[in-house]
C-alpha cells in the first residue's frame, strides 16, 4: 500500500515537471527570443559574416511569430541566435587567424 502511494507520488511529480517544461511559450517570450537573435545577426552583418542557415532560421522565426505559433518562433529564434553567435565568433577569430593560411 505504502509502496503504491510512493510510486504514485513519483509519477505525479514527474508529470508536473513535464507539464512545466512543455508549457506553451508566450508571445512576449517569443518576441524576446527573436530580438536576441536579431541582435546577434546584426553583429554578424556588421562583421560581414552572416551565415545562410542563421538567416533562414531568423526568417522562419519571424514567420512563426506572425502566425502566432509562439513555441515554434521561440525554438527557431533560439536556433538562429546560436548560429549567429557562432558566425560572430568565427569572424572575430578570423580577424587574425587568416594570416596563418597565407601561402608563403
Amino acid at each position: 500500500m505504502r509502496r503504491t502511494w510512493r510510486r504514485c507520488a513519483l509519477a505525479c511529480a514527474g508529470m508536473l515537471l513535464l507539464a512545466a517544461g512543455a508549457r506553451a511559450a508566450t508571445e512576449a517570450e517569443a518576441g524576446a527570443a527573436l530580438r536576441a537573435a536579431e541582435q546577434q545577426q546584426a553583429e554578424a552583418a556588421r562583421l560581414r559574416n552572416r551565415w545562410i542557415p542563421a538567416e533562414a532560421a531568423l526568417k522562419a522565426a519571424r514567420e512563426a511569430l506572425r502566425t502566432r505559433d509562439y513555441d515554434r518562433a521561440t525554438e527557431l529564434a533560439g536556433r538562429a541566435e546560436a548560429l549567429a553567435r557562432r558566425s560572430v565568433e568565427q569572424a572575430r577569430e578570423q580577424e587574425t587567424a587568416w594570416r596563418d593560411a597565407v601561402i608563403r
Binding site: 552572416r50 551565415w51 587567424a97 601561402i103
Partner: protein
C-alpha cells in the same frame, strides 16, 4: 532533393577536406606590411611545385588542366563551344550605338579590344577597384542606359566578347603605390584566406589546399589562373555566368550569405586573385562541366 547517401558522401568529403586544411596551420602571425610582389612569387611557386608538369598557361583551364579524363570530354565539347552564342550576342551589343549615338568602344582604351587582361584595375581618382563588369555598367549609365544585371545574360555576353578579343594576353594587373590600393589588395587577400560560413571553409581551403581533388562530381580548380576563363558557360547552370555568379555560388557552398554582386568586398577579392594570376593568359570565355 538529393538522395541521402549522396548528401552523406558530400558531408564526408567536406569533413575530410577540413581535416586536410587543419593540419596545414602555422603558429599565429602578427600583422605585416602588404607586399604584393612577394605574395605573388610565393603563390605562383606554390602551384609550380604542386603541379610541376603544368605550364603556367594551362592554369587558365581550371579543372581541365587537372584531370585527363575531363580534358578529353572538354576537347569534344569545344568542337562546338557552347558560349559561341554569347560571343555573338556580345559582339553585336558591343557594336550597337547607345541611344545617344556613343558606343562601348568610347568608354575604354584601345576601343575596348584586347584589354580584358588589365581588369580589374585600381582607379586612383575614385580610390576603388574597378572590374570590367563594373566599367561596362558605368559606361552604360554615363550614356543614359540602364545598368545590366551582373550574374548572367547580356553582361556575360559582352564580357565574353571582350575576353575573346584578349585571348592569349597574360593577366597584367598593377597595384599602384597608393595606400588605398594596397588596402584593397589586402582586403581581397584577407577574404580569400578567411574561413567563413557554417562549414568554416575559406576559398583557399578548396582552391589551394584541395586544388585538383574531387568534390562530388567536380574537380577543384587551382586558385592560380582561376579567373582567366571568365565568363564561363557552365553545363550545371545551363547558361553563362560571370565572376559574380561564381563568387556567389562558392560563398553559398560554405553556407555563407553571399555579398551583392560588385560589392567592394568581391571586387577586392577579384583584384587579389587576378593579381596573383599575372602571367596566366586570358582564355575566356570558357566552358565548364
Amino acid at each position: 532533393m538529393r538522395p541521402r547517401s549522396s548528401r552523406r558522401a558530400r558531408a564526408a568529403t567536406l569533413l575530410a577536406l577540413g581535416a586536410v586544411v587543419a593540419t596545414g596551420l602555422h603558429p599565429s602571425r602578427a600583422e605585416e606590411r602588404p607586399d604584393p610582389a612577394a605574395d605573388l612569387r610565393a603563390f605562383q611557386a606554390h602551384f609550380r611545385d604542386r603541379f610541376p608538369q603544368l605550364p603556367i598557361a594551362e592554369f587558365a583551364n581550371g579543372p581541365y588542366a587537372m584531370d585527363a579524363g575531363m580534358r578529353q570530354q572538354w576537347e569534344e565539347i569545344m568542337q562546338f563551344p557552347p558560349y559561341d552564342f554569347a560571343v555573338e550576342e556580345g559582339k553585336q551589343a558591343f557594336e550597337t550605338p547607345f541611344a545617344n549615338g556613343k558606343r562601348y568602344a568610347d568608354c575604354f582604351p584601345e576601343g575596348g579590344t584586347g584589354i580584358r587582361q588589365t581588369f580589374p584595375y585600381f582607379d586612383t581618382a575614385a580610390g576603388e577597384v574597378v572590374t570590367l563588369d563594373l566599367a561596362i555598367n558605368r559606361c552604360r549609365e554615363r550614356n543614359g542606359e540602364k545598368p545590366l544585371p551582373y550574374q548572367t545574360g547580356l553582361m556575360a555576353s559582352i564580357t565574353a566578347y571582350m575576353a575573346e578579343t584578349s585571348r592569349g594576353k597574360p593577366f597584367d594587373i598593377r597595384i599602384p603605390d597608393d595606400k588605398r590600393a594596397l588596402a584593397a589588395y589586402e582586403d581581397g587577400k584577407r577574404f580569400f584566406y578567411s574561413r567563413r560560413g557554417q562549414l568554416n571553409f575559406s576559398c583557399a581551403s578548396c582552391h589551394v589546399q584541395a586544388a585538383g581533388q574531387r568534390l562530388r562530381g567536380d574537380v577543384l580548380a587551382p586558385a592560380l589562373g582561376i579567373l582567366a576563363s571568365f565568363p564561363i558557360y557552365r553545363s550545371e547552370w545551363g547558361s553563362m555566368g560571370t565572376v559574380d555568379r561564381r563568387f556567389t555560388s562558392c560563398s553559398a557552398q560554405t553556407r555563407s550569405e553571399p555579398f551583392a554582386p560588385q560589392d567592394p568586398g568581391y571586387r577586392n577579392l577579384e583584384y587579389f586573385l587576378s593579381y596573383m594570376s599575372n602571367g596566366v593568359p586570358i582564355a575566356g570565355p570558357g566552358t565548364r562541366p
